[in-house]
Symmetry: C2
Subunit: 486 residues, 2 copies
């Protein structure tokens, strides 16, 4: 098959790994119709030979494409394109009259939520995006073994988890033991709710506590999801100031505050003990609920942690939220909320309204086993070392190479660095666009401001290799030298 | 270890399988403290010898208990109890003052939703419960192979599904192909939303469309979840009559109706074509949305299906909901909604508010592969034969053995039989209790009435073996003979 041509080099520039590059190259050719329905593909040996790829890589990519319906294999026929571009009727062929429908007040609010659009075009090779983890160091074989054991064991759990609206009880118990060891939180498993990622808990709590017109306090800058949750409930956000010691307490007229004490999102500031106590005193006085989002304090590179609000709380006013997405994998959407007694029952009912039976029960069970066997703690310890190295490297490179452009906020923990842009605001977008053209991107920190936005960058480093950190900052320096030379 | 005693026979009466019986026997002894922390358990060979169990069964049960943290193994020490009853602090030890919190109007409505309490005590050996599937005939090894392949492949899908709020696109495409073949529905993948079970779609749609005080039509009897969804949104349910041809259309003053046309839940009646057309005409006139819940029409034992409302609809007013829970496994919480264009964007936003990234992505990918490879259709065909045999057997046994007690509603499809109680209402509960004592139970149909409840039974037969069907009905006959002899 000598006339088979694939623009693989183009894709290798975009995707760091050969298999991902090959996957996207083939998929795009099929989806665009350049490889037509029924077209025969080279054997894995032939294709491997043509593009200097191992046969295993080609086979893996063919398997992925087959599982998505793009290709199929038959004995005697080999692998061929199984995707018909015209296989599904387009909208224009349907004799259906589209018509509007009246949304509820909630529906209208949700439909009008601002969206953070995905960046257009392919992601560049070096991508300091926030929210990922290091998959190269993930103990995939240990984890898969746990998962496989649960897959095989599931046939026997028949009635088992049917009424566990708040999630798999052994996982909730394992989380309590972990929280006690790692954060000093004394939680009862009955007060722990498993959720599908921390945003799930934030949105349910906002809906449970906020009536239209009511106020809720958010950090500025802060996590945009919190703002969406408040807006969907019809609430009125009060933007609280943030400085080098985290959120600045004030005498807000509100019943609810969302805060990230362990590591302010996105700045990384640690809420001081004195402010923690003031915040709790405010909550007691106003009968308010404090939602403590502890989204990535598992990884502390220096210094000692301060006790969570949940530990300091003596009036059962704090919801403590944690997630496994950052410590496990990006697609692993399991988080949890430790609830005040007064919220346990309403939260369970709310959870159960949408999902009468728990989802991800396989992953919940595997995670319980992973935690109970000690693998999770071991994984955290090992990743802590990996991330600390990357953290120090990135901090150093930013300070050495880009001191004129970015002012990184002091930070001792976590998986990203927040840095304010030091030059005039007008240059920021142009610089970002130029860097992108050079194959380097970062999460835009500007969008995290509730009001008075200032240009800033969020450099997520968890999934980026040490070589890529050095190369990425060097490319940014080169762009800056070109742009700001005069 | 001759003094190790386990009440296994007691558990074998409750649990049909040896491994489940052994699992619960050991777990209960550990949880109750009869087996204390640190206590050594017999080796799998010893325990197998004592209770005539294969070593493999004992090992599997030990593994399950280990994954839940009840036992642990160490080289040289064997398997021992790892669960401390006093390992977690109880509420009474916490110096925390519990305090109430003010819920939103939505929170108060959710907290006051009626709950269907789980039946107390262990489920009896023969349990005609609704909502399960036949796990003995499930192609577990084929499915597990798909799942394992996805587990191994996941490392490569990094950015892949990040912005797919409505779910994994290849799965949505596979669902469209399936719906076209099986139900004649022409759906565009962009209008298909993956949800965590059909209740997830029902609750989100109710919240998107119903404002407090607004009316929504439900079937009487009908699915209690629909009623909860309406109540949570603050809506006012209108109970529509149901007869042998399904829901009876009327000129309701409402903007939303929930209906189960393929097989009315729970009666099994098929909505006639004429009524389908009247229902759509009503929706067009009132600008209403029709939610068509097609929860188990995959299994048709006789006759031909009528076209779904979604196919008959010419004004894009129908939401079509389906689920894989009944066709796959009970713990497999994946369903979907085919949305009218006007609802796609609001539904995606609502979904994304709670879950910015899709959950169960592993299972979504594996299911897409399972469907694209033809395994799903094969599985449905084979299960169709299995279920048809059970369906005919149960119908026959009910007619032959219990004609004085139950009047089964005519039904041609699905996985349960609805049967009205023929004797006086006062006897129904007593009969049910007595049967339970004899090891037979069924889902109570009485609770499905929105108003004017009448005693009725729902016999779910999917997970019950043919022998158990015969034995269960025979035991019920024996109870009836004893109770109603005089």
């Amino acid at each position: 098959m000598p006339d088979f041509h694939l623009p693989l080099n183009l894709y290798l520039e975009r995707y760091p790994h050969k298999n991902t590059a090959l996957y996207h190259a083939l998929k795009d050719m099929i989806a665009s119709g350049k490889l037509e329905y029924g077209a025969k593909l080279p054997s894995s040996r032939e294709l491997g030979g043509l593009y200097k790829l191992s046969r295993g890589i080609v086979s893996l990519v063919y398997e992925m494409l087959a599982s998505e319906g793009y290709v199929a294999s038959e004995v005697g026929r080999g692998t061929y394109v199984a995707f018909r571009r015209d296989g599904l009727p387009g909208k224009e062929e349907r004799p259906v009259r589209e018509s509007a429908c009246e949304l509820s007040a909630w529906g209208r609010r949700v439909a009008e939520l601002p969206t953070r659009k995905p960046e257009e075009g392919p992601r560049p090779a070096i991508d300091f995006a926030v929210g990922y983890s290091d998959r190269r160091h993930f103990p995939a074989s240990d984890w898969n073994r746990m998962l496989f054991a649960q897959v095989r064991g599931m046939a026997d759990s028949y009635y088992g988890d049917k009424f566990a609206a708040l999630g798999h009880m052994p996982l909730r118990e394992a989380i309590c033991r972990h929280l006690q060891r790692a954060r000093g939180v004394d939680a009862d498993p009955s007060s722990v709710a498993i959720v599908n990622g921390s945003m799930h808990a934030i949105a349910l709590i906002a809906q449970l506590l906020i009536d239209p017109g009511q106020a809720a306090v958010v950090e500025n800058p802060g996590y945009p999801g919190t703002l969406s949750a408040i807006a969907a409930a019809g609430g009125r956000p009060i933007a609280a100031a943030v400085d080098g010691h985290g959120l600045v307490p004030a005498d807000w007229d509100a019943k609810l505050v969302f805060v990230t004490p362990a590591r302010q999102f996105p700045t990384g500031a640690v809420l001081s003990l004195e402010r923690r106590q003031r915040l709790l005193a405010w909550a007691y006085e106003h009968g308010a609920i404090v939602v403590e989002d502890d989204y990535d304090s598992e990884f502390r590179h220096r210094g000692r942690p301060i006790e969570p609000l949940k530990v300091l709380d003596r009036q059962d006013r704090v919801v403590y939220i944690g997630t496994f997405t950052r410590t496990m994998m990006h697609h692993f959407r399991i988080g949890y909320a430790v609830l005040p007694s007064a919220l346990c029952e309403p939260f369970a009912r709310a959870r159960q309204l949408f999902e009468p039976h728990p989802t991800s029960i396989l992953e919940q069970r595997a995670l319980a086993a992973f935690m109970n066997g000690g693998d999770y703690e071991r994984h955290l310890r090992r990743m802590g070392r990996v991330y600390s190295r990357k953290f120090e490297l990135l901090r150093g490179e930013l300070a050495r190479k880009l001191p004129d452009l970015f002012a990184p906020a002091p930070s001792d923990a976590g998986l990203h660095l927040f840095a304010r842009w030091k030059r005039s605001a007008g240059f920021y977008e142009a610089f970002r666009r130029e860097c992108r053209n050079e194959g380097v991107l970062w999460s835009d920190g500007t969008g995290y401001y509730v009001e008075k936005p200032a240009p800033a960058a969020c450099f997520g480093f968890a999934h980026v290799s040490e070589e890529e950190i050095i190369e990425g900052i060097a490319r940014m320096r080169a762009v800056a030298d070109r742009m700001f030379a005069e």
